[in-house]
């Protein structure tokens, strides 16, 4: 990797010195680490399916504040709509609703200003993208839901990238749920056709008996790179439930690291990725069962059209002594064309002997028998294909407990099918 790229990012980190209280030493540590490792290559196991030539080949500038981006309509009733444009929180254009009466929502800068010690809670991260995010983070939101507080409607965080050619947004959000608290975060990502990089890290802490739903709707622009990391820890009887729907960007990665730290902690991590021509969607999950009686379940469904690629790497680790762990993982990929690609790499590391862990991965085409059955009832091949793809992806949406969000995601999937499943005859389908 060219030294110029490393030195550019070092300069960017240096220019941010003093902007976030208490963060400078963490930034220094992160930029040093990044300088050592640089971006990974395909030889790095976690990156083997991601083509990150563009990240390795150029330094992205810091995306600038923009105020003329259009804010998309809401897809459901929300508790608040928080707007982030080019990685900068736009308070003016955000709608807090009545949320501030119940929970605390602050920009990262204010959060650290109030107590710079809290910078220690920020993670450097493992992957190069997360490490660089730590070195270059400028803004983000800190949501603290106090113990016992339940927020029914989703809190929407809308990330918009606008006029950001060769520029990057480095966003860091922190979410904390106190004991018994409940909240739903809906993250949306949209952008124009500029060749930008959206790099996001979400750190979440789910305390005892708390429940966090984390839904992501990734519809970044067609030239974009989208990399995201969710680092989540779950306490006793707590629950983290995520669903990542990935449609946009030319290269998209969602990397979830979930640690089940105390007895009875649960996590479900689901996802759908739809890869059109020359798009690559990677989903990586690592669920770490540290203590006994922890449960996790993953359902991932991906669809790849001609020259599209979808990849899944799912790792489950069960620590020594984490007995009565239940862990399940299901990955299925549907290839709509012979030039489509899917990769699956399930990985189980189990150091306890009284556990139930399972995984399944299949890669296939649309079922010709089912296609003919639908057509033999008068349904045209295009509709038949759409029905089968929707049925296929629906598996991964089943746990979304907000009907409006689930419907909106289904509509996006339907729209994608309309655009990418051409009006072919049944003869091609079979």
């Amino acid at each position: 990797m060219p030294e110029l790229i490393k030195s550019t990012y070092r300069d960017q980190a240096a220019s941010l010195s003093g902007t976030l209280a208490g963060l400078d030493s963490l930034r220094d540590k992160a930029i040093d680490r990044f300088a050592e490792t640089g971006f990974p290559t395909a030889r790095d196991e976690n990156w083997r399916y991601s083509d990150i030539k563009r990240l390795r080949g150029q330094a992205f500038a810091a995306a600038q504040i923009q105020s003329d981006a259009r804010i998309p309509d809401a897809i459901c009733t929300t508790a608040a709509r928080l707007v982030i444009i080019n990685g900068h929180f736009d308070q003016e254009r955000s709608d807090f609703g009545d949320l501030l009466q119940a929970i605390s929502v602050r920009p990262l800068a204010n959060h650290l200003m109030a107590n710079s010690e809290r910078a220690n809670e920020l993670r450097v991260g493992r992957e190069a993208t997360s490490v660089l995010n730590t070195a270059l983070m400028r803004d983000g939101l800190v949501l603290v839901v106090p113990a016992g507080v339940e927020i029914d409607d989703p809190i929407e965080i809308i990330h918009i990238m606008h006029d950001a050619e060769n520029a990057a947004a480095q966003v860091r959000h922190l979410v904390e749920l106190g004991e018994g608290a409940k909240a739903t975060i809906l993250e949306r990502f949209i952008g124009d056709d500029s060749a930008y990089w959206m790099n996001s890290v979400v750190q979440a802490r789910v305390a005892e008996g708390a429940a966090l739903n984390h839904y992501r709707m990734q519809m970044d622009g067609s030239q974009a790179i989208h990399t995201a990391n969710a680092a989540v820890s779950v306490g006793a009887g707590g629950n983290y439930s995520a669903c990542n729907v990935s449609l946009g960007a030319s290269l998209a990665r969602f990397d979830a690291q979930v640690r089940l730290l105390v007895d009875g902690a649960n996590a479900t991590i689901d996802g759908v990725a739809l890869a059109a021509s020359r798009q690559s969607h990677d989903m990586l999950v690592h669920v770490d069962h540290r203590m006994p009686s922890t449960n996790s379940d993953q359902v991932f469904r991906t669809v790849a059209d001609a020259l599209g690629k979808s990849s899944f790497q799912g790792k489950i680790t069960v620590a020594d002594g984490a007995q009565q762990t239940l862990a399940d993982q299901s990955f299925k990929a549907l290839l709509l064309d012979r030039t489509a690609e899917a990769n699956a790499k399930p990985e189980l590391e189990i150091f306890a002997d009284d556990v139930k862990c399972s995984h399944g991965a299949t890669i296939g085409e649309l079922d010709a028998k089912a296609m003919f059955y639908l057509m033999s009832r008068g349904i045209d091949p295009t509709t038949a294909r759409q029905m089968l793809v929707e049925a296929f992806t629906d598996d991964a949406l089943a746990r979304i407990d907000n009907a409006a969000i689930a419907d909106a995601l289904r509509n996006q999937i339907k729209g994608w099918m309309m655009a990418h499943v051409p009006n072919t005859s049944g003869k091609d389908a079979a």
């Binding site: 079922d367 028998k369 089912a370 003919f372 059955y373 639908l374 057509m375 033999s376 009832r377 008068g378 349904i379 045209d380 091949p381 509709t383 038949a384 029905m387 089968l388 929707e390 049925a391 296929f392 629906d394 598996d395 005859s425 049944g426 003869k427 079979a430």
Partner: protein, 245 residues
């Protein structure tokens, strides 16, 4: 209604139907009987337009129209129905959604308006009740977790909802106990009252105890070698295919 002339069909370059002709008039019930491998299912699938069945010669006319170049769904629009020997399970697609999409697809093909959800539900309720199908089963995924008999019952409900001009029923009676067999027979007989012509493809005579065919054909090695009245079925049962042939 259906005129098949000198039909030859190959599957994976192997000729299965070897010059078959057949004429079914409106409202008639024809039974095609024959041993496994005679080409009965190939005939049914070819009429329905399955694409791995290659017509190498002959013609299929339906209601005065050559349908051999039509796609399967277009043939349904013209008024054809294929009942499956092994109805397919489709996880994730509800029976009701499936049937409503099917019915409205057919209506659109015919230039008719979609049926409203309320009207559709009324129609399905009536048909399901007639065929003793539990409405709860219709809310489930298509054929998923259905017993063999329930799947066939489901086929009958679909047929009733689509109300075809001609139904080709491919071994719909196979693997059924006597109660399920009666349900299928009831479905066929009810459809018969609507003037639907029926082409019953079967291995055994027993369905014909409940459905009286107008014509019985004996099919051996890709050809119809003998046709006659319903007494031919009894003769087959008694003497076996070798002697009748």
């Amino acid at each position: 209604m259906l005129t098949v002339r000198d039909l030859r069909v190959s599957v994976e370059n192997k000729e299965i139907i070897k010059g078959l002709s057949l004429e079914v008039k409106p409202g008639e019930v024809h039974a095609i009987m024959g041993l496994n491998g005679a080409g009965k299912s190939t005939l049914a699938n070819t009429i329905a337009g399955r694409d791995d069945y290659e017509m190498t010669a002959g013609s299929i006319e339906f209601d005065g129209k050559d349908i051999s170049e039509l796609e399967p769904h277009e043939r349904v629009g013209e008024g054809l129905f294929l009942g499956f020997q092994y109805p397919v399970e489709i996880p994730g697609v509800s029976n009701l959604n499936f049937m409503r999409t099917a019915l409205n697809s057919v209506r659109r093909y015919r230039g008719e308006e979609d049926m409203s959800a309320a009207e559709f539900m009324k129609l399905v309720r009536t048909k399901a009740a007639e065929l003793k199908m539990d409405l709860e089963m219709l809310k489930r995924f298509v054929n998923v977790g259905f017993s063999g008999g329930e799947k066939k019952r489901n086929e009958m409900v679909q047929m009733a909802v689509l109300n075809p001009k001609l139904a080709v029923l491919d071994e719909t009676d196979s693997g059924l106990d006597i109660d399920a067999l009666k349900v299928v027979a009831d479905g066929i007989n009810a459809q018969r009252k609507n003037d639907t012509a029926i082409l019953l493809i079967t291995h055994y005579q027993r369905l014909l105890n409940y459905v009286q065919p107008d014509v019985v054909h004996v099919m051996i090695d890709g050809k119809i070698i003998k046709s006659g009245g319903k007494e031919l079925a009894a003769e087959l049962e008694e003497k076996g295919y070798a002697d009748v042939a």
